[in-house]
Amino acid sequence: MKHFYIASILLVCFSLKGFSQITDDDLKKVVTEINSQRSANSKDIITSLFRAGIDDLLGTDHKFDFSASLFGIDSMLRGKGVKLRNRNYSEERQLRQWAVTIGLTGDIGNVITKFSAGVTGNILNRKDITKKFKDTHTKRLEALSDIYDILHAKIIDFTKDSSAEVKIAVNQSWNAAMDSKNFSNLHSVLKKVIYSSEFKNSVLNSREVYSVLSTQEIEDIVEGLGAGRDEFELLFKKTITQYARKPLWTITPTMTYDRLRNQGAYSVETVFTAGLGKDITKKPCEIEAKAMFKLANDTLNKESNYEEKPFSFSLGINKILVENEEKESKMELKIFTKYDHQFGSLAQGKQVDLFTLNSTFRINVYKSLWLPITLNYDPKNGNLFGVFAITANIGN
């Protein structure tokens, strides 16, 4: 038992190390940024790079699984110098939509009892911000870009006869404000330009701007700039957050081989998740619906069979409780109900239908390492079960 824990934790750590073997820094950073605002719960559904996990740490059967997106596998091969033809964006995106999972299950005596392999594919992924935003979002961002362009031109007109020192100082102040995303410490000249009626009138008269934004919106933006807010940055972050809360729907067929009974089992699972609420200033809350059907052998029958046919459906809400400054999730709580139905043969002492109340508490302990703890309560029989696990969303 102890050896299994140590080996599993070492495997998780080596998996974390494996991420560093991807030498393409561009790809690592892009994927990291893409996933930075997704909940840990949605990252468990499908990974963009790698995910490793050990389930049921305190149970009699322990399962280790490792998931890798096709994008992550391809990136590792590139890092090892394997020559593949150049990828374009469409190919990269297709690779991110699929992930493969392999798993090992061991018993209390450290004997590997089962091997499993599965594929997860996206049926619907509206969270992907590498695809072009909707036209409404794109036009608003481009309007803000035009406003900043107009502001640039006005700054230049205002300082055209100034000394080189003033021009350099004003330019440095502007670039520093862009880098820090904070307009509260602008050079006095920049403030004068922002507050000037010339700038405001230029924006109000700009066709690219007034065709997208209302007069009130333009005035609010100009006022926000004057108050020290980087309005373009605020709009961009708001748009990204809105996309992080959009739906994700996946399907995962899995095959498991039981080496002790010399028989396979087959399952298919589908998961749907979507953000709730329109107020993006609040921490994200998402709904999750999950359904799974399995064909496995009835262990009471010594002959090969597929008489075990469990079906389960769960519905719940996952809430991010704690975020860091970059809006990355650090602690989550999911509360869900689960219904299990046995279509096949029923073992002694088991019920055809089982309804449970459940919760999963996730805490981020270190970088991409998470500890999810699941409690299952059977109200009919008064049973309470706990499942402890450890997961690492590598590069996510």
Partner: protein, 143 residues
Amino acid sequence: MLHKCVVARSFQLSNFCIVNKKPGSRKRNRVGGKKLVMKKITIEGKSTGTTNNFVKVHIYRPSSHSNPYDHRKSYHGECNFKEILNDLIPQTEYYIFFSGYTTGKFVLKISGDFECIDPMVTIPIVRTIENGKFSPSYIIRTN
């Protein structure tokens, strides 16, 4: 004026091109009857990992100055472009500024026959933006 739009159309994406040069610019390449050797700058942009990009490139010299200049160009989509401007007057100050956004990684590079009047900025100018909006500004003087 038209040749710039033709150059723009050879690039991958749908763009619009505004080239608005003030009157008198046709004679800019002559001073005291002598033909000037015009200076060239190259502005390159390269995006990675996303097609969700937008950048507006603006090279500007105010109309109140001699030899005014106002060249604007916008790019959408994958935003891999190379803009060559070879009609800049020697020993003249120009402003180059950008505004846009990317959900992946975007690298801007400016090179050519110029120096930056801000001594903190090295030539060629290279700026990398990752998943964010950007609006950098540079003041250059042609050689």
